[in-house]
């Protein structure tokens, strides 16, 4: 399950071959206004929140719908 989060974080690399996603947007913004640190820190925080949210979601969904055998 945490593999899903790892794949989500790995998708950040796709921005380097100009797939228009989050880290690509960060690169775009910092190349426009040269404020590299600000744009990268904002995007990093977004990734962090995404990862935390995704894990909460999976922790909730997993036992309930995927392998919750006991209660049926």
């Amino acid at each position: 399950m945490s593999q899903i989060i790892i794949v989500m974080l790995g998708s950040a690399v796709c921005g380097q071959i100009s797939t228009p996603e989050l880290s690509y947007a960060a690169n775009l913004i910092q190349s426009r206004n040269f404020r590299a640190f600000e744009s990268y820190i904002v995007v990093t925080v977004i990734y962090l929140l995404l990862a935390i949210l995704l894990r909460q979601l999976l922790n909730w969904v997993g036992p309930k719908f995927l392998f919750g055998g006991v209660r049926g």
Partner: protein, 216 residues
């Protein structure tokens, strides 16, 4: 226009491969040391200290490595520190590795039965002595296979250091592609070299796993 033979390409990639290896080793050794310190903090039983380490792990496992590299490279230069790509890549990869290794090792320490802690504290060993003489020797046996396996992840992680201008295997591949206009050939070789580097390591990790399972 310089003509590149296949051998020229491979030779230049091999020359760049040593920087990949060196950066991996630096990140792995540095990350191991930092990870060990964090592990000691985490297991010390102080709640705020282990919370702090948990937050650190969450921070580095919850953000992409690319972003960590960019932040280390661009962010620290904002504070007037002119970092070379070497330092920035080494620093970011060390912190990244330490977060993962401390989490891996925590699982291994937790795998040591609780009775071992109680028995060693009944022998009046203090916390550091308990770790040093009783817990870590047992945890190490469990820890070695996943640690070696994680080394593969570190080696592949160094590929991202090319994005901040660190000339290693991937960056060398990009530079050669720019000169030869044969991306498939060059990146094919790059991928092959990564495979030749990583496959023996993962084979070794697997054989270690088998050996420890047989004995344990």
């Amino acid at each position: 226009m310089v003509d590149f033979s296949t051998w020229d390409i491979v030779r230049n990639l091999l020359l760049a491969l040593r920087w990949t290896v060196l950066l991996s080793l630096l990140a792995f050794v540095g990350g191991g040391l930092v990870g060990l310190v964090l592990l000691v903090f985490r297991m010390a039983g102080r709640r705020w200290l282990s919370r702090l380490v948990a937050g650190y792990v969450e921070l580095f496992q919850g953000t992409p490595l690319v972003m960590q590299l960019f932040l280390a490279y661009f962010g620290l230069s904002l504070f007037g520190l002119q970092l070379s790509p070497w330092v920035a890549a080494g620093l970011a990869l060390t912190l990244y590795t330490s977060a993962f290794l401390t989490e891996i090792w925590r699982g291994c320490v937790n795998a040591v039965p609780k009775g071992q802690w109680e028995a060693s504290s009944s022998l009046a060993l203090n916390y550091i002595e308990q770790l040093r003489y009783i817990i870590l020797p047992q945890a190490c046996r469990v820890a070695i296979p996943p640690t070696v396996g994680f080394l593969v992840q570190v080696v592949k992680g160094t590929a991202l250091a090319s994005l901040i201008g660190f000339v290693e295997l991937t960056k060398a591949g990009t530079m050669i592609t720019n000169a030869t206009f044969e991306p498939f050939l060059v990146y094919g070789w790059v991928a092959l070299l990564y495979f030749l580097l990583c496959y023996p390591i993962s084979l070794y990790a697997r054989s270690l796993e088998g050996r420890f399972n047989a004995r344990g």
